[in-house]
């Protein structure tokens, strides 16, 4: 089930929270929605889930517009809002039953669905407690369970792993990946490794506008034109000679010795060239021993920082 966002804008009191954004998400795709606080992530999610109407533009879910087909669309979406609001005075099982009934799950299937969600989200030990008595991690699981209980084709998750411990985070990510194979998932997060671990595609939004869209690999390539290698060479007669020889390789742009290590160097290649083969060949010719050669990748953090700060 595809989500098509077309020229979406939303303003609050003259201030544009979302400014004319367009993108598309297809079935089986997990889209990571990134951006600094106040970038417009949550607003976009609220519009896609039909909680709010956009100021202009449209969202089409499988060709159905949120302006006219609100009720049909809501049935197909599972939504975990920011801060995971829940009825704290309700017991877990009762709350899941209430959600299932509201989402139109057939009466005799409700218990099966609840049991399934309790199993998937690991709620078995806490299922009879009131939601207010649960720890934050378990509340988050209840939030996920209520979003998925009617087996929606689209999942919109606003910061799904906040408050979970590292083991739970890994579990939830696995779960999202599994679900993402057959469903359409949009998730927003501040945790950048999470995006790499779970998402097929990243959308970075800043001040209401999309500033980057692509897989983690393409974003990295865009941000980094020059190859950077970290190399260590031993058995050479002197570091100066190594630097001099490397500098003379035609693919090498710059050689930079690391201050705290004797034999480790950072080698930057010229744009569009790779120096790996040349360096290896040089070492063979000179009878040096190459003990390390690691390509240095631009971190997602750096890309994020570059795109979202002026």
């Amino acid at each position: 089930m595809s989500i098509v966002v077309e020229n979406l804008s939303k303003s609050y009191g003259g201030q544009k929270a979302v400014d004319n954004i367009s993108f598309q998400v297809n079935t089986g795709e997990i889209l990571g929605f990134l951006g600094p606080n106040g970038a417009g992530k949550t607003t976009t999610m609220k519009i896609i889930t039909s909680f709010m109407a956009p100021s202009s533009g449209d969202v089409k879910i499988n060709g159905l517009s949120i302006q006219t087909e609100k009720e049909n669309i809501k049935k197909k979406i599972g939504y975990l809002p920011e801060n995971n609001p829940l009825y704290y005075d309700m017991p877990v099982l009762e709350y899941l039953g209430f959600t299932a009934a509201l989402q139109g799950v057939v009466k005799n299937k409700i218990n099966d669905k609840i049991a399934q969600m309790v199993f998937i989200c690991g709620l078995d030990e806490e299922k009879h407690k009131k939601i207010g008595e649960l720890s934050k991690g378990y509340r988050q699981r209840v939030g996920l369970a209520q979003a998925m209980i009617h087996n929606p084709e689209i999942l919109i998750l606003d910061e799904p792993t906040t408050g979970l411990d590292p083991n739970q985070i890994i579990e939830i990510r696995k779960l999202i990946r599994r679900i993402g194979k057959e469903k359409t998932v949009i998730l927003s997060t501040h945790i950048l490794p999470e995006v790499e671990a779970t998402c097929d595609r990243i959308l970075i939004i800043n001040k209401g506008k999309i500033v980057a869209d692509g897989t983690p690999e393409t974003l990295r390539k865009q941000a980094q034109n020059n190859e950077v290698l970290k190399i260590s060479i031993s058995e050479a007669s002197g570091l100066d000679e190594v630097i001099y020889s490397l500098q003379n390789l035609e693919s090498v742009n710059m050689v930079d010795p690391l201050i705290d290590a004797d034999t480790t160097l950072m080698v930057q290649s010229k744009a569009g060239f790779s120096s790996r083969k040349n360096i290896f060949q040089l070492c063979v010719d000179k009878h040096w021993v190459l003990t390390e050669m690691t390509p240095i990748e631009t971190k997602l953090e750096d890309i994020f920082k570059e795109l979202t700060t002026n």
Partner: protein
Amino acid sequence: MNKIWIIAARELKTFFDSLTAYILLISFLGISGFFTWLFGSDIFYIGQASLEPFFAVAYWTLFFFTPALTMRMLAEENKTGTIELLLTKSVTDWQVLLGKFLACLMLIGIALALTLPYYFTVWSIGPIDHGAVWCGYLGLLLMSSAYISIGLFASSITSNQIVAFLLSLFIGLFFLIIFSVLSSSFTGFGGELFDYLSLQSHFDSISRGVVDSKDIIYFLSISFFGLILAETALAKRNIVD
């Protein structure tokens, strides 16, 4: 209708899971019982088999109790953010409102049903006007539904329950007293208008056993108008610009 019922059932259960329902039922029965049977111009003082003392007491107690029920309804959902979760489920704003309205009305219905022993007791004492009694109950229900929708409106525009409570009392006060005071100080059209808006005369005529469509329309239109305002307040999220 099914969705409305699901929401109403949840709200009603929440009333009983918290102490709200029990406090309301006990204090309503206590206060109305005390003034009906024991104190002031009670049933024995009047010397007639009539439930009018009870209706007069309920007329006042419901004015205070209804806002206490409705204040939580939307204000709390606004405060905790659960309104977002609720409205992104496959329900309309109207289904949510009507569900909450129905839950409050059912709880008041339960409270009134528990006063039926008063009726049977008086019936066993002397000849009672059955029509007037049932009309009185109908009047109380209609009046409550008007207060509930005023309360829902007050609750929909704030995330503070105290504000919602005071605001619905304040709006209710207009219908309960202020319009009637104004009607006596105006003559001509103004006087008639305020007299029509005042709740007392409509309630009195119903509780005397006279069911006039004019009175029923009066209560239903307040209920309807309150719900429309509440719906508008809910839908405001769509038009903030």
